[in-house]
Symmetry: C2
Subunit: 287 residues, 2 copies
Amino acid sequence: MEGPFLAVDWGTTNRRAWRVGADGAAEAEEQDGRGILSVAPGGFAAEAAAIRGRLGDLPMLCAGMAGSNRGWVETPYLPCPADLDALAGSVAWVEPGRTALLPGVAMRGDRPDVMRGEEVQLLGAVAAGLAPPDGLLCQPGTHCKWADMAGGRLAGFVTAMPGELFALLKAHSLLGAQLGGAVAPGPAFLEGVADSGADLLSRLFGIRAAALLGRRGDGDAASYASGLLIGTDVAARDVAGRDVHVLADPALGALYAAAISARGGRAYAVDSHAAFLAGIIALWRLL
Amino acid sequence: MEGPFLAVDWGTTNRRAWRVGADGAAEAEEQDGRGILSVAPGGFAAEAAAIRGRLGDLPMLCAGMAGSNRGWVETPYLPCPADLDALAGSVAWVEPGRTALLPGVAMRGDRPDVMRGEEVQLLGAVAAGLAPPDGLLCQPGTHCKWADMAGGRLAGFVTAMPGELFALLKAHSLLGAQLGGAVAPGPAFLEGVADSGADLLSRLFGIRAAALLGRRGDGDAASYASGLLIGTDVAARDVAGRDVHVLADPALGALYAAAISARGGRAYAVDSHAAFLAGIIALWRLL
C-alpha cells in the first residue's frame, strides 16, 4: 500500500510506534510500557485508537506479540526460510485496509523455536543494507535470537534466554544480593566469558563462593554473572572467525560484542530501530 | 568424647536432629523447617534449648549452616584435602563441653567453592563403608555437590545449582506455567538429558516453543526441564565409565541415577542420613 501509516512494534512488555510519512520517513515516534501483558483481553482496539489519537488517524501495521495467543488476534507462524513477501502475504486484517497484524515465524524441526517481531528487524536490516544477505545476525534481549540469513531470507534461528535468567538470578536467587551492581564489558565481564560454557551451573554458584572467600568484590559480581550468561550463549553459536551483526541498544550490544570478540568473532553494531522501520515500511508497500 | 549426645544437621531451610546413644545408635529423631533462615539473630541458643527439651538434655554437635556467617557463631572453612581429624580439630565450642559447631570446607584455587555440612555426609559415607575411599560422590539438592574422595579424604569438590535454577524457572519465569507437573525419570526426562549440555540457555526456551507449536504436552515439560538441568550438571562431570555414589533421597537420587547412566556412568544409591550419622558420631568420638 502507498501513503502514510502507523508502524507498531508490539512487544511483551514494551511497545514502540511510529508515524511513517508517504516518503518513508519517520515523522513521529512514541515508546511506552504498553506491551501485550499490560493490555486486558478485548482492550487492543482501544489501545490502537489511543495510538491513532496521539500519532494520527492512519492505517496501522502491527508486528510482534499483538499476533500471539495472548494478543489481539492470533496470526500463524510461517515456516523458514521466510522473506518479506511471505510475511506480507500472511497478515491478518483486523479491519480491512485499516489495521493489520503480521504473522510470526517458527522452526518446526528437531529444535522447535518461534519468533514474533524480530523477523521484521532481521529482514529489514538486510533490505536496508545494514546487514549482509548471507550471515549470522544476533538480537540480544530478554530472549536473544540468533538468525542465519541466506540469500536475504531468514533461513533459521535459535532463541536463548540469558537475559531472563540474569533477571531471575538477580531478583530471586541466592545470588541476588550480589548482583545489584552495574554491568559493563570490562575485566570482570570478560572473566565471566572466559569461565562460561558447559559448566554454567557450577560457575554461577562460584559467584557466591568467591564472595564468601573474599575473592571477588560484589561490585564486580553482576558483570561477571553477565559474562557467564552471555558468554555461554555466544559459546553455543559458531562465531569464531565470523562476522556477527548485532541488533541491540548500545549498552547491551557492547556486552555481546565483547563476548563475540572474546570467542574469536567480529561483531558489527546495527541500529535495530532503523532495521525495524526499514522492514515494516517494505512490508507496508507489499500489502 | 564418649557417651550419648545430640547430633544436628542444621541446613539453610531445613534441620534434622538425632539423639545418639552411648552405643552409637540413633534413639530419637526430629526434622523440621527450622533452618538458619528461620532463626532470628541471637535466637540460636533458644533453638538449641528447645531441641534439648524435646530430645534430651545432652551435649550437642552441630554441622552445617549454624557455623555460617548467618548462623550462630561463624566457624572457619578448612582447606582440602580434609578429613574427620581436621574437622574435629576445628570445632567451635559455643559452651565448652556442651555445644559445638563444626567448620566448613573450602576450595581456594582457580575455582573457589564452599560447603557446610555435606563434608560430614561425605566422610561419614566412607567411614561407614557406604562409599569407597577413592571415587566420585554426588549430593543432589538445591545446590548439588560433586566430591572427589582420595584415600578416604575429601580431596576436592564443585557445587552446581540445577535445583535452585529449576525452582526459579518454575516460580518466576516465562516457563513457570508449564512446569507444574510431576518430575519423573521417564522418557521426557531422558529427552532433556539427551538435549542437555552446552546450549542449555536455548534448550530452555525450546520448552516454550515446543508448547506453542504443539510438540510437547505441558505434563511432560517439568520432567524435560529437569532432565535438561540435571543432565547439564552431570555432563560437566567426568562420569563416563565411572562409579558415582549418590547421596540423596530416593526421588531425587533416581533422577541423578538416570542422568548418570545416560551419560555412561554407574550410579549407586547411598543412604544420606546413615552417612551423616556415621560421620557425626565419628567426629564426636574424636572431640
